[in-house]
Symmetry: D2
Subunit: 488 residues, 4 copies
């Protein structure tokens, strides 16, 4: 019988797959959320989009984000728990994603700052100039409330997927630094002290290969604002991360890594946040299911709690199983990332395996999060559509998950590319073989090989059905493997 | 090749299945929406929940709903187009649901007032006391802006599905009328001039069979308010229909039909609105797909409109096909209802066939509406989650559709009951036989018969998979039939 | 030369007139406001009216007020600083009003809870039944965050000034308590645990003399809600105190004092809150002036800070003087109240002197608060009307001050009554004589005597001019006296 | 006896001083407001600040202001009634200000668009280049809903009074036009099709004399946006005029008049809008008093309508008299402007007389508007502070009036300058002599002469008391004169 009650706690739900020595340090963090964080998070969501104060009374540009003060307290909890400093202390990213997981169970938007901060700190450490490392990294690794936040600003107004065509921000070399000019359209965590920013150096080629990656601090050397927030965006959810439009106006910037490696670095950064999206999706899916469970166990119809109605019960069981599979997929992605995150081009096969698993997992878990959030509303009936209760919120929060870090469409096409160019599916099947049903594995393999030899347009058009089944197969296979471990 | 452009107009999209003489009268109605209505609808949604002014400055209770004045203009358009008066003139409900369809393409909440007005006018005409018919019906059939609205208030705070247990409103007979006391928790179209209300007469039995149905006008005989609006509810969507909580306090009421028929009358009323939900779902699904199409044809990535990317194109084709199937299912439900709506208990087999088709169609089309709204957001990418554009709105609007008029859970169990007690599936298969693949039909039939002989709990637990496939099968079969007609 | 910088701190500004041993205990309270409270207060105001959650997800009535959680933290600071427990420990109300003063410098609405809590605790102690004293008083005197709040609910929908005619709430005696039925229209601090409520016992006479005063706890003996919050009111300001409409429905209640003393008790309670209004008015006036000063010292026009422009400077000086006079008037009202608050009917001359001074001071200081808030906006120029800066807020906050606790109209007529029936002006002139210009005093006296012998209608019509001059004269005279003390 | 009922209609109230042939054409305009406009205006205010849509879904900058569509209908009414075309047809501005008056009785913000449109059209006609006159003027004089709006953008972030120091927008000559670069901070009517903009040509001197005035159309020659709206400002009131921040970025512009006349042209434009402010102030004051009257006549306390209480009645009479005096002052300013508006530098004595009267009237009437709005709230008691009723709105609307077009401080100092440099007081006294009490006039004259011979700092510091009394004296004197005319 399923232990549904494990749904009520993120750490409890992770227990079967994550070593308890990794979970224990987060006990207090989860407890804080119950004690204080949940009420704050709920208030921040209820408030709607935060205000941007552009100028102070005297007309000085300040670009201050007016959250309730306890927002900042809530935000800093995760940093203090180790969202950034632990990876650098441990040499492993696992603690980061576990913190994301716990965070997203309680506030699906709040992990975004942690994720983009990681996606800033890692390239700074891997590729950043020594001077900037010395200057900025210690700020990002602080364990107190003065910790610096990071941000990753790539997308411009013409769209996010085709960065090569759409990044119009220009970089110009001046003395010991660069200056950037351009506008970023979806700038998450817009009040960060340090951002990594995609731009095209003067004279660089068109297309994705002409992009380079830069560090941009919030303040200029002499203390003035180094970029401007044009406005905050009213989003359907994730109000706990301020997303804005950013104006770069002769903004001081520092090149990270080799100029011609820009695209690789962007993709590496995206890998980090994509795995964060996976963790957040599973956590939100768990939360939606947990809240539905709590309600269904108490709401009585036809003489008994609706949870005890056979159809409802069956639906809970099916979704609980899906959630466990998603959990396995998530943990696999995290572990693989943890093996490859320090690689630089040219990458190993393990890296390509990681990429494929991540495309599958991102696609699959975000979809699950939305579907469980939607189903959670249905379980609540009419109450589910009211702004005053949580299910409505989880649906609003969930909607960003399939879109952030690449839409499903993007995951499929990028996944296809890894299969075509790196034989990623081969790597994947080898990886799964010891634990999978070999007939099923064989059939999946044949379908993919068949697909890959189709003409380009048919290949792309046909990817969805295969990709979806592959994701489900991988999730199920991994869940079986983890179950074996868990019950050993 | 699919004619995607037909998506851009509700009337054009209906052309293949609805006789043009029924569509033509609505040409000006659709044109009005483009000319004026869309902008009004968008403003009303942007405004959020309307205000309720409970008292005037001098302390008189007024319960006035403060919409922008053009809201009322928009609302009255559909009544003037014939949402209520046409069914009574035509002796057919088809015009009503076509108006709902056009309305919901532009504003998914606004058809609700029309639907509940119909659900008030029909029982008033079928079962209402002569005096009240004479008094109220002409008001509801007006063709000018003074037309009266109806409303159907059943649900109380403990929940909507188990009305038998949860309706605590009491009715007491006094002289020539009744008085009602109780609170209604989800009262749609709360500013209606006339509502039908479920209540339990003093001395009536417990459970659903003790319920009776009453007419409750907004004003008492001597002009005072006859019920009070406790508050308007903040819903995720459908802000163009004010939903409130209603306090009945010695409210003057008139019994409709025989007291012991209450439950039947409630279910008849629900049939009417359930079909409205189906029409609204297909219309909203069409709109979401239309907006996604418009965007995809203009948004360029990797050198061409994203609509021309093979995977995106394939996805559009699949969804367009699903939408056409949903359209067929909808039209079948409307036609069947139009055959049986004048029946009184005991009902014919045709009525039971209608019920099963409607449960399938409500379940299937509401799900499609949500999924297309969600997918429409994904097509828009980041832009999709922003409050300032339409896709975010369609998702918010869609979320009510699976919940209003019975959740999916409810449709399945009620559908199961029709199959068990009335052999509804048998009626359905006979109905479809001339146009369906007989092997497939045979298989569906076997699966249902197998299910029906299971023990109660297993039967209920197992209904979902069968019901879903049945809905898809029926939709597909009907679409094929309509295609034949259309292309004849 | 004026020491304008004293404007920047409430405690510093009070130093010249309040013994430092009384101010010192509040140093940490003021410091807390600067450290944390200001930002919280600003966020609460920005949020607009709080949400009322009437029902939980399962349909249980809860009437929960959804403030951001830090609101409650902010609210509790003043209680912990001693808003209620100190008066009961000290045997003096002065600490209470000093806390109000500091509070209102930072948040003009937040002292209201303290004031109405005091106005609840005092009659409970003076007149309450022993059993209820033992039960409730210790809760109100707690020094931790579980302290109970009080509230004073008199006004009904037909208006506040003519309570005798407008209180329709009925009280009925049952066993050991009473039950109340009626609606209160302006119920401040609506989430209080204990309220005093005006109602008319069954059988009591019409008019003000038939009113009695009752204690009404938030929860019934058996734990259910004892009253219901119909809604929160959207006010122009003072969003940090939730004002609502309250429904008393067979609410358990306890008579305070003798039934026939109701009106006296109501007026005694009003005395307490009227003095709170005076303290709040002077504090808000100080704050508006302080913010204007800060701005004017920094904003440069025509080559120098606008504060240095001669006309602006002159205006600051005049307002600073007015503020010092208002401070004297306030402190006099507090001291007089502190002498008489334990009196019961029949009252002494000192009590009547207190009443007249309080009517004058309430009238005068509220007007000053509005005028300085308005002028503060003008000093800020265009910036002053923007919602994102403080001057706009002080104006919104100030507007309640002349209205709460009796409009100017009311103060004048009640003041007139004290003069006519108790020769209050005679008591006042005797009180001021040692420190006033005797010619001026003589002239004021003559004007009043002249007024008093006019026919009723002319007397009332003519009161304003005299009353205004009298208030100004008293304020100026007292300021002179305090200046002598201060500079001794 | 005062005819209080004339307060209820703007045109009726103007009858005693404005020839009926000038009022009659506005009868339908006032009737429209009652029929439709009031409800629209109320909805627009309730909505709060409008939304700015910066980009369309495809990322094109559009800067669209999202008002409810009926806003635009309301806005266009005044243009159609003749706010702009009538002055050009009549050769007189009187019709314009009468339209402002009627408008502001119903919506205090909505006249702003008319006023700034006039302030654009007049300099365009007086000083504009022929080509731009031919191109733009016919658009501004249209009588249909396609009429163009104007706007006057001077103020930048450092403040509005010291334009000479604070205008940092630069103008550069290119071929047949200029380009402007800079940011405007308070840009009223921000969606106008044509604005006049203060900027400093390259090479021009510092200070006010280096400013020039330019025409800036909303769209560039080739159809792109010619300026950008950075954001809309959240103001306490006047939500029916969108105020924003404007970014001029190589904006195409056309010089108006001689470059070195810029300051004169700015001041001429300000004259036009200052008189509009006067009309709006008196109209709002009338409205506040009218609403208070309506309430007071219906609200009963102590057995009779509060309007019949002697003190209340007296207060109404005093305020009604003040309002009549303000009306006289307003009409005088309008008539004087109508005599001098076509003058160009160097100006006549009549022009200087006009300036002084206007400074006095702006100061006096705006103050009255605020004080009556505030008092109107007090008359309403607690109801007055609630957002759902009108008094709260009039107070919010009124607060802009003393600030727009120059604060009181500014009026006094500018008035002082007219007296010092142009002997404006002498002109004024000559103007008033035939109708004034000569002793009083003599005393005013002496006080002013005394003031004028003081040292600069003392003169400025002392202006307020004199200016206030002068304004009151002028208003009273003019009212007497008009009364004579009226009752002849």
């Amino acid at each position: 019988m399923s232990d549904f009650q494990s749904l009520l706690s993120p750490l409890t739900f992770l227990e079967p797959i994550v070593p308890s020595r990794e979970l224990e340090p987060l006990t207090e963090y989860e407890a804080w959320w119950r004690r204080e964080g949940m009420a704050i998070s709920s208030a921040v969501d209820r408030l709607g989009t935060a205000w941007l104060r552009m100028f102070d009374e005297l007309g000085h540009r300040v670009d201050e984000i007016l959250f309730p003060p306890e927002y900042w307290k809530m935000l800093k909890q995760g940093y203090q728990a180790g969202a950034i400093w632990r990876p650098f202390e441990d040499g492993s990213l696992r603690a980061h994603y576990l913190i994301d997981y716990v965070t997203c169970f309680f506030d699906a938007g709040l992990a975004c700052p942690y994720i983009v901060s990681l996606s800033t700190a890692v390239p700074l450490k891997k590729y950043g100039p020594t001077k900037q490392q010395e200057q900025f990294l210690p700020q990002m690794l602080r364990r107190d409330e003065k910790v610096w936040q990071g941000a990753t600003w790539m997308t411009e107004v013409k769209g996010g997927s085709d960065l090569g065509a759409n990044v119009e921000t220009k970089a110009r070399r001046v003395a010991d630094h660069w200056t950037l000019n351009g506008d970023k359209y979806f700038a998450s965590n817009v009040s960060a002290e340090l951002a990594i920013v995609a731009a095209r150096p003067e004279g660089a080629q068109q297309g994705p290969k002409g992009l380079a990656l830069f560090l941009v601090p919030r303040y200029r050397k002499h203390g003035e604002l180094n970029y401007f927030i044009r406005r905050l965006k009213n989003k359907i959810g994730t109000r706990s991360v301020p997303t804005g439009e950013v104006e770069l106006r002769d903004s001081e910037a520092y090149l990270i890594g080799r100029q011609e490696w820009g695209l690789y670095l962007i993709l590496e950064s995206l890998n980090l946040s994509r795995v964060g999206n996976i963790a957040g999706s599973v956590a939100l899916a768990q939360r939606a299911l947990a809240d539905a469970l709590t309600f269904a166990q108490q709401r009585v119809a036809f003489g008994r709690p609706i949870f005890e109605h056979p159809l409802m019960r069956r639906q809970f069981e099916q979704r609980f199983t899906q959630l466990q599979q998603a959990r396995a997929l998530m943990w696999e992605a995290i572990q693989l990332l943890d093996e490859v995150w320090q690689e630089k081009p040219r990458y190993s096969d393990r890296y390509h395996l990681f990429r494929l698993v991540t495309h599958l997992a991102k696609y699959w878990t975000a979809e699950l999060a939305v579907q469980l959030a939607k189903w959670g509303m249905e379980v609540h009936g009419g109450v589910g559509v009211l702004a005053e209760y949580s299910p409505e919120r989880w649906l609003r929060e969930a909607m960003i998950l399939p879109i952030w870090e690449g839409t499903p469409h993007r995951q499929m096409l990028d996944g296809l590319e890894v299969m075509e160019r790196k034989r990623g599916h081969k790597l994947l099947f080898d990886h799964l073989a010891p634990n999978s049903n070999s007939a099923e594995l064989q059939e999946m393999s044949s379908r993919i090989e068949f697909l890959l030899q189709l003409p380009l347009d048919e290949k792309e058009a046909g990817i969805e059905e295969v990709f979806k089944d592959l994701a489900e197969f991988v999730a199920r296979t991994l869940a079986t493997r983890y179950n074996k471990i868990a019950f050993r």
